[in-house]
């Protein structure tokens, strides 16, 4: 097995993973969410894929592992090993620009540490926190005082 061949097999897996979506946030792929930590396929046997949880108790974690397994199996890769990677801990800073765009288009304010929380619908900064916790462990609930719409915001960690 040559190095080039390894790289192309791994690239193929990255391409497949880009089509696996977070079940709670179907607009964002697991790659854009920043939770795929590594893809290694150095030799015979199946590839190893490192996944990190966003939050310790995120209930989507099991579903994401299953979705990754089934995506790879559908592409004929049946012996993938999924490893849980805890360190370094996931951070919302790992969301890709594509994830930011997709979240905003979906009505969820992307995480912007230090910046004002901007309404994803009308782009007003006149917003207020309703609850520290929103629809998923990674979101908090806000309200826009300009357009009066409620929205979720991806928490900054």
């Amino acid at each position: 097995m040559t190095v080039a061949a390894d790289a192309s097999r791994e690239a193929e897996i990255w391409r497949l993973l880009a089509e696996v979506h977070d079940p709670e946030l179907p607009v964002v792929s697991v790659v854009d969410l920043g939770i795929i930590r590594h893809v290694r396929w150095p030799g015979p046997g199946g590839p190893s894929i490192g996944i990190t949880p966003t939050y310790c108790g995120c209930p989507a974690t099991e579903a994401i592992r299953a979705a990754v397994q089934s995506k790879l199996a559908a592409a004929g890769i049946r012996d993938a090993r999924i490893e849980t990677v805890l360190s370094p801990p996931w951070s919302s800073a790992w969301l890709t620009p594509a994830a930011h765009r997709a979240l905003k288009a979906h009505g969820i304010a992307p995480p912007q540490p230090g910046a004002a929380v901007r309404c994803p619908r009308c782009d007003s900064d006149a917003t207020e926190l309703v609850s520290e916790f929103g629809a998923t462990p990674c979101q908090a609930h806000y309200r826009c005082t300009a357009c009066l719409e409620p929205f979720d915001r991806f928490k900054c960690t």
Partner: protein, 255 residues
């Protein structure tokens, strides 16, 4: 107690961390459908999920350390009350929302110091789990301290209830900082901190919150319970009965 071996102490410590998180998660989960507002229903459920997730990481590590056949589910569902080694504070009931907030505040401020110390543990796995859990705990403390101030510095009734909860739960806090033989062994190896060393930082974090909440810090009392040694208040048994019932009635059942 005779001095435990390093391996026994390490496993015991990991189980204490797991049990405290699991029991607290179960207590928080009892609010689902009963919280004073939908937002708090979601908030308390999210706290419960974080604690459950942390418990699972610790149970998984405990299972590896034991090296036997016990799984995280065996630890959670097939041990009796006296085998649980959670802090007694975590098992105290949801008397009202003030009790839930005070219990959370006292534990959040404690876990913040505990995990910050464990993040520097010589045990790599403990350090990784603590680093993972730390941002969650910081967020929990924002939630619990926000409610503590809002209710304490609120109406006469909310202030009264918060003070009642604080008086009732304060007597369980000495256990957080009491050091036993297990913790001595681990502190000597820089695996876990000496709990006594966390107390001043915990106080420095709690006292300003109590002041802003216009609550009086209760006097320290002698401490008769040692949840982390398996000696529990009468509240843990019913909690476990409810939590374990399904698994014990239908062993090995799967969704």
């Amino acid at each position: 107690m005779s001095t435990p071996t390093l391996a026994a102490a390490r496993t015991a410590c990991v189980l204490r961390l797991a049990d405290t998180n699991l029991v607290l998660a179960q207590r928080l989960g009892e609010w689902i459908g009963h919280a004073p507002a939908l937002e708090e229903d979601l908030g308390l459920a999210n706290l419960a999920l974080d604690h459950l997730g942390q418990a699972r990481l610790f149970y998984g590590y405990a299972a590896e350390l034991e090296g036997g056949n016990r799984s995280e589910d065996d630890f959670a569902f097939l041990r009796d009350e006296s085998a649980f080694v959670n802090l007694a504070l975590a098992e105290q009931p949801n008397t009202d929302f003030a009790f839930a907030i005070v219990r959370q505040l006292l534990i959040d401020a404690y876990q913040l110091e505990l995990y910050a110390a464990l993040e520097r543990s010589s045990d790599e796995r403990l350090a990784q789990i603590a680093a993972k859990a730390l941002p969650e705990v910081r967020y929990h403390l924002r939630y619990s301290s926000g409610w503590a101030v809002r209710l304490g510095d609120g109406t006469p009734e909310s202030q009264r209830r918060m003070q009642v909860a604080l008086e009732a739960l304060w007597r369980f806090t000495p256990e957080l900082f009491a050091c036993d033989a297990i913790e001595q062994v681990l502190a000597a190896q820089s695996i876990a901190p000496d709990p006594a060393a966390l107390e001043s930082r915990w106080s420095a974090s709690i006292d300003p919150i109590l002041a802003r909440a216009t609550l009086q810090r209760p006097a320290d009392a002698s401490y008769p319970w040692y949840g982390k040694c398996g000696v529990h208040t009468e509240h843990l048994g019913p909690l476990l009965a409810q939590m374990q019932h399904l698994h014990r009635a239908h062993p090995g059942a799967r969704w």
